[in-house]
Every structure is written in C-alpha cells, then in structure tokens.
C-alpha cells in the first residue's frame, strides 16, 4: 500500500492511473448515458423504458454493446473506405481527448503529510482552455469526415450542416469563454476553477448568468444535441451523417456523442459552476487535500456532470429541432451581438477593476436582458423561431382585401 | 222471358237425339244444304250480318274472323274448339250430348264458308262419353254422304276428324290449340302471324267454338234477321247459360242475352233460387276467368257488354257458379288460384311465376296464415299479368288476374277479418314451418 502511494506520488504515474480510471468510468458512464437517455425519455412519455435486460433493465447497455459488436459491420461499396473507417474513431477520440484536462479533485496530499503531492488531473497545461477549444473544434471532423466518407448525398448534407453549425456556434462560445478568461486572467482549468472558491469569490455563474446561458446554448449546439441536432435529422436526412454506418462504427459515433456531452458538461461546470467546489462544505475547499476530500470532490464533480447530462436529456425530450435558418439566425443575430455586448461590458469592468463586483456584473447583465427584451419586443425581429416580417407577396394583399 | 223457345237445345231430352234420324226430323241439315247452294262469300256475309259473336269467351264476330283469311289461300283448316276447360262451363258438353249433328252441320257450313277441306274437332280428353257420341255421329254423317267427298252432292269435300286433347286448359286458346293439334306442347304462339294467316301446319286456320258453330245452321235456315231479333244491342242470338253451385236447379239453359244474373239464379225457367234459400255471397257469372260479382251486384245483365261495368273481363262462357254465404272465401281464392297455377303453360314469365306465387300465397291464407300485406301483394301480382296490358302472349293470365283481383278487392274485408282473428305471429310461424 505504501509502495503504491509512493508510486502515486509521482504526478506522471498518478496521471496515468487517473486517466485509466477516468477512461473506464467515462466509458461506463457513456454506456449508461444511453440507458438513462432511454429511461428518461420513457419516463417523460409515461413509459417505463428498458426493463427487460437485468433488474430494471440495468444490463441493457451491455446488451446494446454486445449488439453493436456482434452486428454485421457493413462497409458499403461506394464509400471512401479509409475515411469511412476513420471517422467514427475520430469522433470518439476527439470526444475523449478533452478529459485529459478536466480538474477532477484539485490538489491531493496522498500520504496525509500535509504536503501536496499531486494534482488530481491528468494534465494541467497552462493553456488548458485553448486545448479544450482545439479539441472541441476537432470533434466536428468526426461528423464531417463521416458524412463525406458516406458518399451519400443526405449524409453529405448532414456534414455540411454540422460544419456550418459548428462554425456558427464556436464564435459565441469562444466569446463567452473569453469573458471568463478575462475575469479570472487564467487559462488553466484548475486555476479557473479555484478562482471561484475561497473567501470573496463566487461562481462565475453569479457574475455572468447571461454568459452562462449562452454557454449552455452553444454547448447544445456543439454536441449536436436537440434542438440543434441538425446533422442527424432522420426526417429529412434519413439519419444524417451516419446513414451508412452500422455495428461498432455506428456505436462509436454514439459513444463519441455522449463523451462529448460529458466533457462539455465538465467544461461548463469548471468555467461557471466552480468545478468540484461547493461553498460552505469544508472538505470541498481547495484547502482540503486529503484522499477522502479528493474522492468527495470527484463525486461532487461527477454529480454536477450527471445533473448536466440530465439537463441535456430533459431538453432533448422536450424541445423539437430547429429549422436550419432558425439555427443560424439564433447564432448570428441573437447570440453573437449579445456576446459582443457582454464582452465590451466586461472589458470596461476590467478597466475599472470591478470585474468581480457582483453589483456591477449583475447590473450589466440585467441591463443587457432588458435591452434584448426591448429590441425583441419593439423591432419585431425574433432571435429564434419564425421569420416574422416576410415581405408580402404581390397577390397576397388582394386576397386579404377580399 | 218464359216465352223463349229453345233452338240450340231443342232436341235435348228427345229420345235418340244423337241420331241423324232425329236431327233430320227436326229440320236438320237444311241449313247446310242452303249454305252449300250459296257461294262461300255469301255465307260469310250472312253470318256477318247476323253478327254472330264467338261463344268461346272473347265474343269476336265469327264472320269478321273468317274474312281475315287471305284471299289467295289454297288450303284452309277449320278447327273446332271443343276444349271446354273453363270451370264451371259445360254448354258444349250438353250441346254435343244432345245434338251432335247440329255441330256437324255447323262445321259443314263453316268449312264451306272458309273453304276448308278439313276440320279438326279438338275435343278435351275429359269428354269421354261425348267423344263417343260425336264420333258415332260423324261416322253416321260420313255414311250418309254428309261428310267426305262431295258433301250433299255439292262437289265440296270435307273431312271432319276428332282430335282429342290430353288435359290442358291452355289448349282452349286458339294458338295453343293449334300447337297441340300439331302434336306439340300447347304453348300459345306469338301473334302476329295470326292463325288466319298462318295457323295449323303453316296454313290459314280458323278456330271456332262448338257453340258458335251450332248457331250457324239456324242462321242459315232462319236468317240473320231472326238472329238479330233475339236479345238486344250487340248481344244477339240464342245463348247457352250454365249454372252451377248450390242452386235448386243447376244446369244448362238456353236464352237470350237480355236477362240479369239474378234472373239466371232465381228465375223459374232457370236456377229457381238457392238451395235452402241461403243468401248469395258471390257469383262468377262467366266462368271463373271473367271475375267475380258480390251478392249485391246480381243486377248485371248477362250480355257481352254489361260485365265490364262490374269490373269483369267479359261475358266469357256465360257459365255462372254461385257461392253461398256459408262458404269461406279463402277456399274460393285457393281453388281459383290453384286452377291457374296448375294450368299456366309456363311460357311467359309473369304468368308462370305469378300464378304459382299467387297460389302459394292463397294456400297460406287458406291455412289461416295470411298477412294483410299478402292481399296487397296478390293485387299487385295479379295486376302485373295478362295480355291486355301486354304482359303475356295469351289471355290465360288475364283470366287468372281478374278473379283473383276481384276476390281480393271485393271481399277484402272478409279476408282481413280472417286475418284479424288469427293468432299473432301465426303467419310467421307457418312460414317458418313451410320453409
């Protein structure tokens, strides 16, 4: 035991072990995400959901996995074979790569000697945020490459949609992230998380609720979840980018999507909800560095992620899909101006040094919301939903006049 | 009319009336001799003048019928209709029984007038005794040179053959008779061509009733004016009336066509009233085919025209059957409808199916399982048959329609009463059993 602890004191060893543990956990979580997705959708529709495999259907993910593994893996004759094989792997790998920098539990004092031995984080590059943005940006390639490799016009359309969508929502997201970076002055994720703890520090969501909301929206878009799942619209695109995929490859896309969701949730939690921190709980403060504290922190972090995942599913089974023009409009006409205004405002706050002053930040947000409502109410330009003021067609007036 | 002196039945009851001797003694064959001295057209003219209307039922003037024959014919066939199947008619029977030579004399005159060398007497098979009497008389006539080659020395040849039927009412219809004569089933033919143009064996044919022919000798001897003097209007000449049913004196009577039905039943010279003086409920005054009179309609005159005023088809054979008040009219309906369904020839749809349908309904009514709507049905079905509205080839269905429609219309209340007394649901129960 001691030997083990000794070894773990080495950050590299710890990181390796942690990555293995996290990987295993994530994979399981992803599988159970599917289970819960189905359960929750069932519950929301007054059904019971999967309940045949194992007690309460708990073994359903195994069955699903086995099914994915055992089904015939078809590679259609007309596809671009290398890309076709590569795309699902890409989707999953890019999904999983983000986990490397999630801060799971802060500093840990493994042997209880009061000296912090390791960080409970696989890697903590100083520019973690940039890494995350890069990896997140790459994730779309899974979809794009898959759609392209399909050599199928519907899948290709899906890929194009995904590209455009990703492009449109990266910008608001980046701006929101920039807000946080500006507020904290940090790029490392653990640093950002810790900047929300301790005396006088609040979770960023308190300072930037609008930004948080925009972050959520862009997150949905980035992960291709309803109402932004334009890339896999069954009704229009017979499935979308994965039309031609079957068996394990299709399963990998599935896993990739959920991995993406988990990492995205973790990201938002770190940025806005204090990571593993809960106020007023002593061992969830950065000062608590014992192994038990680490475990508690990890649980809290996982719970927060779980809550987010629930939110994802809840939204999915509540809201219908956007139309593509609505999707674009929301991003370019809705989110982007608001983000820019926020950015400008925070810049001013930064100049004034009041970036963590609750009154200033919240006040700004309030004014912003008021502004948006006024604009939306008076100008009649919806940021989403129907295109209101279409120009009347020549004959329309005549018909109405009758 | 007690003063009426019988002409046609003058030899009835006379000893040996069937023999040539007795007939000759009463002035027999004088008419034939007179006719043979005239030309055939002159005979026809005389008969036309007398307006001798057919006694078989339709009342079509015999002389006119003869004049329909094509002028350029080579052979003509005379058919004598002795298929007297209409119930309750028996005047031909009486005529043949009492004076067969009068018929033979009439045949000679008619054959001469129509230039027929052969005459077939179509006799119904039920006339067994009459057949023998007539055949013996014909043998006698042949032996006396009245038939065969050179009739009465006039150079006119005539063969008379008796052709026996075999039990079919419809053979009394002239084309049915012709078919039967040709050895076929007695299905009436479609007209045109009329028998006068193309009849038996494809030759011009005249069909006359026995009673019609029996009048001819008297027209020849006494003249057309004498004939016109008996009776009135268009109904002239001696006529045989048959009376049957529960009357005191049923039988065949000769008289003029100026009496009423009541007179026929109650007259001293005729029926002499009902047995036990029961009331009259109904009378079929002209054979059943002509229709029915109620007890209140006895004032009908027994001539060719008046019956139509009482919803009857015509005078028919002037054979009246009286139904007394104690009779159940359901039985009468059953009997009448059974007769027609049994005797329908089966050619025309309305008659073939209609008569048997009416019989089925009538039997059910007689079983006490009638329904009110059956009466309407009977009326409708009987209204959908007959030659006069064009629904059939021959007149038999007319004869079926008139009595049944008459019975239903004139005695509807009685039938309804019977049905009213029936137990509820009896009709349905009987139907279920029958089916």
């Amino acid at each position: 035991m001691d030997w083990l602890i000794e070894q773990l004191k080495d950050q590299l060893v710890f990181s390796v072990v942690l990555s293995l543990v996290v990987f295993a956990a994530i994979m399981t979580a992803v599988a159970y995400c599917i289970y819960f997705e189905r359960k929750i959708s069932a519950w929301m529709q007054d059904r019971v959901g999967p309940n045949r495999v194992g007690p309460l259907g708990l073994l359903q993910p195994m069955a699903d996995g086995a099914k994915f593994l055992l089904k015939e893996d078809i590679i259609p004759a007309f596809v671009d074979k290398p890309l076709f094989v590569l795309a699902p792997a890409f989707a999953l790998i890019m999904g999983l790569a983000g986990f490397a920098i999630l801060p799971w539990g802060g500093m840990v004092d493994l042997d209880g000697d009061g000296v912090v031995d390791v960080m409970c984080q696989v890697a903590d590059p100083g520019v973690g945020l940039l890494y995350l943005l890069a990896v997140g940006g790459m994730a779309v390639y899974g979809v794009v490459v898959g759609g392209w490799a399909n050599n199928n016009k519907f899948a290709f359309l899906a890929a194009m949609r995904a590209t455009a969508q990703m492009l449109s929502y990266e910008i608001p997201m980046a701006l929101v992230i920039l807000l946080v970076v500006m507020t904290t002055g940090q790029l490392g994720l653990d640093d950002i998380a810790r900047s929300q703890m301790g005396e006088g520090n609040l979770w960023h969501v308190c300072h930037h609720p609008v930004a948080f909301f925009i972050m959520l929206v862009t997150l949905f878009a980035e992960t291709n979840r309803t109402p932004f799942d334009m890339a896999e619209a069954e009704q229009e695109l017979i499935g979308g980018y994965h039309t031609e995929y079957s068996a394990l490859k299709f399963g990998l896309f599935f896993l990739g999507e959920y991995a993406h969701m988990i990492i995205g949730s973790g990201f938002v939690i770190v940025l806005f909800l204090g990571g593993w921190h809960l106020p007023w709980v002593s061992f969830l403060q950065p000062e608590a560095t014992s192994v038990w504290a680490m475990l508690a922190k990890m649980s809290v972090f996982a719970t927060k992620i779980a809550a987010f995942l629930f939110l994802f599913m809840w939204v999915r089974w509540t809201l219908p899909r956007f139309r593509f023009d609505q999707l674009m409009r929301l991003s370019w006409k809705g989110l982007l101006p608001v983000c820019l205004m926020l950015f400008a405002y925070v810049t001013v706050l930064l100049y004034l040094g009041r970036q963590t002053d609750l009154m200033w930040t919240l006040g700004g947000n309030g004014v912003l919301i008021l502004l948006v409502l006024i604009v939306a109410g008076t100008m009649g330009v919806p940021v989403s939903g129907r295109q209101g003021n279409l120009s009347t067609l020549p004959w329309e007036g005549a018909v109405r006049a009758r | 009319m007690g003063s009426y002196e019988p002409v046609l039945l003058k030899n009835r009851g006379v000893e040996g009336s069937c023999t040539l001797k007795v007939h000759r003694a009463g002035g027999g064959y004088a008419g034939a001799e007179k006719a043979l001295k005239l030309s055939s057209d002159e005979v026809i003219e005389e008969v036309k003048k007398a307006n001798l209307r057919g006694r078989g039922g339709a009342g079509f003037p015999a002389g006119v019928k003869w004049s329909f024959l094509p002028k350029d014919r080579e052979k003509t066939i005379l058919c004598v209709n002795g298929d007297e199947s209409e119930p309750p008619t028996f005047s031909n029977r009486v005529l043949m029984e009492s004076d067969p030579h009068m018929l033979i004399e009439g045949i000679i005159i008619a054959a001469y007038a129509t230039r027929s060398q052969v005459a077939y007497v179509y006799l119904r098979v039920e006339f067994h005794e009459q057949f023998h009497i007539l055949q013996l008389a014909i043998d006698e006539a042949y032996a006396a040179g009245l038939l065969g080659k050179d009739v009465l020395g006039s150079g006119f040849d005539l063969d008379v053959y008796v052709h026996r039927g075999a039990g079919a009412y419809v053979c009394g219809e002239e084309t049915g008779l012709i078919e039967s004569l040709e050895g076929k089933r007695g299905w009436p033919r479609i007209k045109p061509p009329f028998p006068a143009v193309e009849g038996a064996f494809g030759l011009p044919t005249v069909v006359n009733n026995v009673e019609t022919l029996a009048n001819l000798p008297h027209i020849m001897t006494r003249g057309a004016d004498w004939f016109q003097s008996i009776g009135a209007g268009s109904s002239t000449g001696p006529k045989l009336f048959c009376l049957s049913g529960p009357v005191n004196r049923p039988g065949c009577f000769e008289g003029a066509m100026d009496m009423t039905c009541e007179e026929l039943i109650y007259g001293d010279d005729y029926g002499r009233g009902m047995v036990d003086d029961v009331g009259v409920k109904a009378v079929f005054p002209g054979g059943i085919s002509m229709g029915v009179l109620t007890g209140d309609e006895l004032g009908m005159k027994m001539d060719f025209d008046d019956p139509r005023n009482f919803g009857l088809l015509g005078l028919g054979t002037a054979a009246a059957v009286v139904v007394d008040v104690e009779t159940d009219m359901r039985d009468v309906l059953l009997n009448v409808s059974r007769f027609y369904s049994h005797e329908s020839c089966g050619q025309c749809t309305q008659c073939r199916e209609g008569t048997s349908w009416m019989y089925r309904i009538a039997s059910r009514i007689a079983m006490g399982a009638g329904r009110i709507e059956d009466l309407d049905l009977l009326e409708q079905v009987s209204g959908r048959m007959g030659m006069m509205p064009g629904y059939s080839i021959c007149g038999l269905p007319d004869g079926a329609a008139f009595p049944i429609r008459g019975l239903v219309q004139k005695f509807r209340t009685e039938y309804e009463e019977h049905m009213g007394r029936q137990r509820d649901g009896r009709a349905e129960a009987v139907l279920r059993v029958l089916n």
């Binding site: - | 025309c348 749809t349 073939r352 139907l431």
Partner: protein
Amino acid sequence: MAKITIDNQEIECRDGIPVLQAALEAGWDVPHYCYHPGLSVVASCRLCLMEMQLPHPKTREMGWAPKLFPSCQTPVKDGMVVRFDSGAVEQNQKACMEYFLLNHPLDCPVCDQAGECHLQDYSYKFGESESRMHDQKQVNPKKDIGPQTLLYSDRCVMCTRCVRFAEEVSGTEELCIVNRGGRAEIDIFPGIPLDNPMQGNVVDVCPVGALLDKDFLFKKRVWFLESGDSVCPGCSTGCAIRVDQSDNRVQRLKPRYNPGVNEWWMCDEGRFGWKYVHDVERVTRPRLRRGAEMETPAWESLGEIVRYRFEQQVDRHGAAKVAVLLSPMMACEEAWLLAKFVRELAPDATIATGFVPMVGEERCFPVGCNADDAKFVIRREKCPNGRGVELVAEHFGGSTCDFDGFVTKAGEGAFEAVWVVGGYSEEWVPKALATSLAKIEMLVVQDMFESALTGEAELVLPACAWVERDGSFVNHAGLIQPFERAINVPDGARRDGQYLFGLAGFEGLYSGARVRALMAEEMDAFREIAEAPRQPAHQH
C-alpha cells in the same frame, strides 16, 4: 334503312330487324332473356316490353298505346316511335326481375356464371334489391345432361334459348321442355345425352347459370379472366373466338359474333381443342447441334448462327438447294417473314406450303341440311391458314410447290438446306419425309412437339401455339382475320413472329399489324385487312 324513334332519339337501323335488336345496336341496354339474334323469336320472357305509338282506333291520331309490346317481336317500321324509359316499362322490368328471382336459388357465390350472368346484371340494373316472396322456393333438380354439360334447373329462367338452339342451329333436338307452368324444366330424353358437336354453344346462349360447361366448372371466377380476341385454328372455317385466360393459362374459348363466318357459334372441337397449348412436352427452347453435342443457343445469337449456316449451304450447294416448308398453322405474317428471309439468302429457294390435315367430311349444321343452307360448318380442313400460306407462296412466286410435291422432291434429294415449319398439335411427319430429310446437311425444324424430324434437325426452334402469337389467318373463303395474342409464350421460348422478324432483317418488336402493313405494300390481298377494325362487341 328505317328510321325509328326510341326514347325521343331518332336512330337509323336495318330494315326488318326487331326493335330490340335495333335498340341494342344503337346502345340501349334493354333487358332480355329469350331473344337471341341467332334464334327464332318466342317473346316469352316478357322483359323487353316497350311502349309504342299507334294510331287511335277512332281518331287515327298517333298516341301511346295502352298496352306494352314485346320489342323482340315487333319489327322496325319506318317512322315508328317507341320508348323504354316510361314508368310502365320500368315497372314491368322490376316485376319481371322479381319473378325471375322468385325461385332462383341465389347461389351466385358458387355459380360459375356469376360475373357474366344476365340475371345478376339485370337484377342490379332493373330489379329491386329484395324479394317480397316469403314462401319456400321451389327447388328443381340438377341434371347431368351430357358429357360436357351440366343443367342446373333451379337456376333456369325458362328462356328456352338452349332448346331453340338444339332445334334450329345444331338441329339435333336433344333438349326439350318438360312439365308446364311453374314446374316447367329443361330436360333431355334420358339416355340421349346432349353430345352433338356444337353443344357447347348452349352454355353460351344460356343467359344465367343453368347450363354450365364441365370443362370450365369451378375452374375460375370469370372476373379473374382476361380476354384476347382470337381466331380458332381448329379448321378452315376460322371462327372468331375469345380466348379467356388467367395466370397465363387458357381457361376457355368462347365464340365472338362474326357475321357470315361463324355467326354466334363455334364447335366443340375448337372449343375444347386447346388443351395441347399447356402440354408439358412442348418444345420451348431452341436447340442447336454443334458436332455431336446439342446446346441451347442464346436467342440473341440465333440470327447470326442461322444466317451463317444457311449462307454456308448456299455457297456449297447453290441457292436452289434451299427450301422452306410453310405450315398452314402459321400466321400469314410469319409465313411472309420466313419466306422473305429465305428468299433473301437464296433467291432460288423453293417455297413449299405445308401439310394440310384433312379429316372426314364437312359437317353442316343444322344436321341434315346441305352446305348452302347451313348455319354452321365444321370443315374437314383441320388447319386455320391453308389459304394464307398459299397466298404468301404465290406472292413470292418462283419455285413453289405443295406438300406432296415437297415430299417427292425431298425424296429425290433436291434440297440440302431446309427449314421445316410444323406447329401441329398432333404427329404429322410422313415417314418418307423424315427419311429423306435425315440425309440433308442443314435442317431447321420449327415445331411445337418433338417429332421424327426434330431428332434429325440441326436447329430446332420452338413453334408457339396460336394463343401465344398474333397475326392473321385466311379462312377457307379467303377472309383475312387478324387474331391477338392472349397469353405469353412458355419460359425459354420466343414468339415465332419475333425471331422471324429479326431474321427477316427488321429491328424491334414484332406485331401482326406492323408486319401486315409491310405486307400490304406488296400484296393486294392484305391492303384492305391491314387496318381491319375490331369486330364490334355484340351482345351475347
């Protein structure tokens, strides 16, 4: 031509025909059972009654007569005014239909006539939906009245068409009516069954399901049948027929009205003589001898092979050694195409007309009449197109001969390359021909069944049955009658016309009309028929 007015519409019609016939031809749907244009008029069903204008007996003014007249019995007269659309007429039709159905069993579901039954049609069009008779129906017995025919007396409407047919057309008189009134039935004298050579027509004339064909009994509901207008190949009379098929199998043949040829009738020989069409023994594939081996060449390559081999023979022995035997079972078009092909290859080739089977004597109906008065004749020449192939041979001229001449010449060794066409349903090859043709170098046999010749042939081609082809036959009197294809050829086979079309150098799909148009350019006889109108559909 008489002009009459029906339902306020003036029509022109032939003189002397019944009003009913005139109305039917002018498109009125007048119900009728007993009337049949080919039989005498009895006017007994009383369903075709009409109203007619007659002069008033006293005033002589024209007015509607108070009674109805049977339109089948009333001949048309110029200026006649009649109507079928009056209430009285319709009421009579309703009443009549009720009467017809009083005792009718309503077993349409198992009745083979259902679907082409006039009782059904008229009941639907002119009748009421319910019968008012509640009493039990009279059930007449079913009778087996002949080897081919069943009589269901219970379904009979006593139109007596069958009886009249047996009396007037076949003249055999087997059928009679028994009993009278509502108990009347059709019957035969026991032991003298209905088995004359035309008895099948009684089933056709029966407007209801009373007379049924045992051959077709329960085989198919008629609404599943599809029909092709054809011509009977049984003899040289050339009866116009209708081939009723379903699922690509012939189910029955029915005559079509064809004035002057077969009128409304056809004989049993033709009616039941199609069974060989579905014989499993038929030649359905081309067969080519290559050395000692037999192989099935692809249809596409056939033209090339045949052409090459014939050319080889022409080169080797000269064109005069080539001969073609045109079968009288072929259509004119096929004969023309084949002759054209052979004459192009070998201008001196002999065109022989094929074997004409002769059986017995000409049989005239009604039995006992002579040929001039006959209403129908079954010819002794048992092939449909003897005259047709003669016409074709005459047209090509040059060296032609008849079958006997061909057999003789073949015996003398006059030919080295011969194309023989058979297509008969029975064995036809004379021994002498088989032996002499066995010796020659190139023998093509186009036949329906294996024979002594197919064994010797270098190339065997399937000949298709006439129902699988289309073209035209020329009957004994020189009348050219086109016939349609009714069913598809058996698997593997191809229509004779189609491969001959290709051989003769044409491209695309063969059709009789198309080839007739080509023939008409050369042959006067085909000029008129080339655009022959279809026979007008006539009422039963």
